[in-house]
Amino acid sequence: MSNLTKVLSKMRWLQPVVGAVALILIWAFANFAELVDPVLLPSPLQSWNAFVEGMTEGTLGHDFYRTIFRTMLSFIIATIIAVPCGVALGSSDKLYRSVEFLIDFFRSTPASAMFPLFLVFFGIGEEAKIAVAAFGAALIILFNTAYGVMNARQLRQLAARVMGASKMRILWDVTIWESLPQTFIGLRSGVSMALVIVIVAEMFIGSSDGLGKRIIDAQMIFNMPEMYASIFAAGALGYVMNLLFTLIEGRFVHWGGK
């Protein structure tokens, strides 16, 4: 018994992957026992092979890259617009109160509901996808940045003020820093939102490449391994982006939570 606990505690590092391994085992078992039509549910190995093949010889790599590119571009546009606006909103009570409803309203509106609108304005090309994803991400970033600035603790601003700092200086030297943890929450949610919208846009706004397009194409012709491979690629992309952001955040907002 004590031996078992020893062995288990030695295998602690395995813990994080236990869930994933279990899922793959269940999947493999369901496939092996033919619990689900094998056409709909290929084996994990088949799907993995499709992924590797797509990445090395096929066009999955290209689609992967296109999706990253679109996501990052929309995210960058969103950040450039939303962060300064958020700071402005957050530092002026009057301004914030006059647009609070508007922001809340659009934030609650599913971005996908805006697709047609953006199509009308930007046509069915690349611009519409980028614009709608940037829009969705910008709202989240805007809201969080404004919120961070508004709720920045008073004391540090007072400390700067007593030293003789002007209003602008206080905003620049203190308030913006103070709002960074919240802004980063906004950026992280923003980039996830951009990815979601880009994938959906690739599926439904006439697109010739991208993971979304790939997933829907595979589904049309019932190429299930291909579809799972693409879904996996999209998931991995989202996960890695989140991870990357957490790392950047830890570096940048090193004092957060301390």
Binding site: L155, R156, V162, G164, A165, H254
Partner: protein, 297 residues
């Protein structure tokens, strides 16, 4: 007439017009002449900060200060002591210019707070330091509001570090330092500009006893050297008296001055000071007044 020693009138006028308001016929009829002449008091030579007619009411109707007058001497340490919630923090916040007041006038040698070099040490050092800056950059930060060259800034820092003679790694971020070290950084940040006035709001109350003693000694020796007008709020009567040239006792709200008790013991003061008859006398009298105030209905 000894004009420089007179406090300017309250009616927002600039000090130059002061002589005009002296003659009775310039007083508006609605304003009782008695009130005004009261305000036109002389103040003792050596006064640095003059507070006249200070009034502060909170949104919920609480009247904290009404027509509060106070003169504070130059280059001395005044300890403010009073019942909980009597408005000690509010008072020094209004004087230092980080809190607005409804009426009245606060001048530093005729200047406003904005025109005066002020150092402020907050009780809550965790929330007053800038965690995105290293300790040394925290200390250096207020220098950018003075017109100093880089070399002059460095010289200031050098001098300050030398006078504190501390052995902490100032290249760390504040959150990597102990509480006492963080407060020490706050104190240095407040002093680096060589302020005309230093405010300390219960600076040691969040620290352990050993650190408190250490910082108290450091602060005292630096203040003695620099001769900065200092206002210290403390809830520890021993500390208030030990550091003070004068103990300022406040009443419950609406707040007024209950008493001012001078304490002239030589510096540097230390644990031995606290057993001298003078110290005990000042402390006893302060305590009596404090208790009388606390017991008032």
């Amino acid at each position: 007439m000894n004009l420089p020693h007179r406090v300017p009138p309250l009616d927002e006028g600039n000090p130059v017009t002061a002589s005009a308001t002296l003659s009775a016929d310039t007083v508006t009829p609605t304003e009782p002449a008695g009130d005004l002449s009261d305000r036109l008091r002389w103040f003792a030579p050596g006064t640095h900060i003059t507070i006249r007619g200070l009034t502060k009411t909170f949104a919920d109707g609480t009247v904290l200060y009404k027509d509060f007058d106070l003169d504070l001497p130059r280059g001395k340490v005044v300890s403010i002591f009073g019942p909980n919630g009597c408005g000690k923090s509010t008072l020094i916040n209004m004087i230092s210019g980080i809190m607005d007041y409804d009426a009245g006038q606060i001048l530093f040698d005729g200047k406003t707070a904005r025109e005066t070099k002020i150092g402020y040490v907050f009780q809550n050092y965790r929330e007053a330091g800038f965690p995105w800056l290293r300790a040394i950059d925290n200390i250096r930060y207020p220098l950018k509001f003075l017109k100093l060259s880089k070399a002059e800034q460095d010289a200031r820092i050098e001098k300050l570090l030398a006078s504190f003679n501390v052995s902490i790694d100032l290249n760390r971020f504040p959150y990597e330092l102990s509480g006492g070290q963080q407060q020490l950084v706050s104190i240095m940040r407040a002093l680096v500009i060589e302020p005309e006035v230093l405010f300390l709001d219960e600076p040691f109350s969040a620290l352990d006893y050993e650190m408190t003693l250490f910082l108290r000694d450091k602060l005292q020796s630096v203040l003695t050297d620099m001769e900065i007008t200092t206002l210290l709020v403390s809830h520890d009567l021993d500390e208030a008296v030990e550091l003070a040239d004068e103990v300022l006792l406040l009443t419950r709200k609406p707040t007024s001055v209950a008493a001012r008790i001078p304490f002239d013991a030589p510096r540097p003061r230390n644990a031995e000071t606290t057993v001298t008859p003078e110290f005990i006398d000042v402390k006893t009298r302060s305590l009596e007044i404090f208790q009388r105030e606390v017991r008032k209905p």
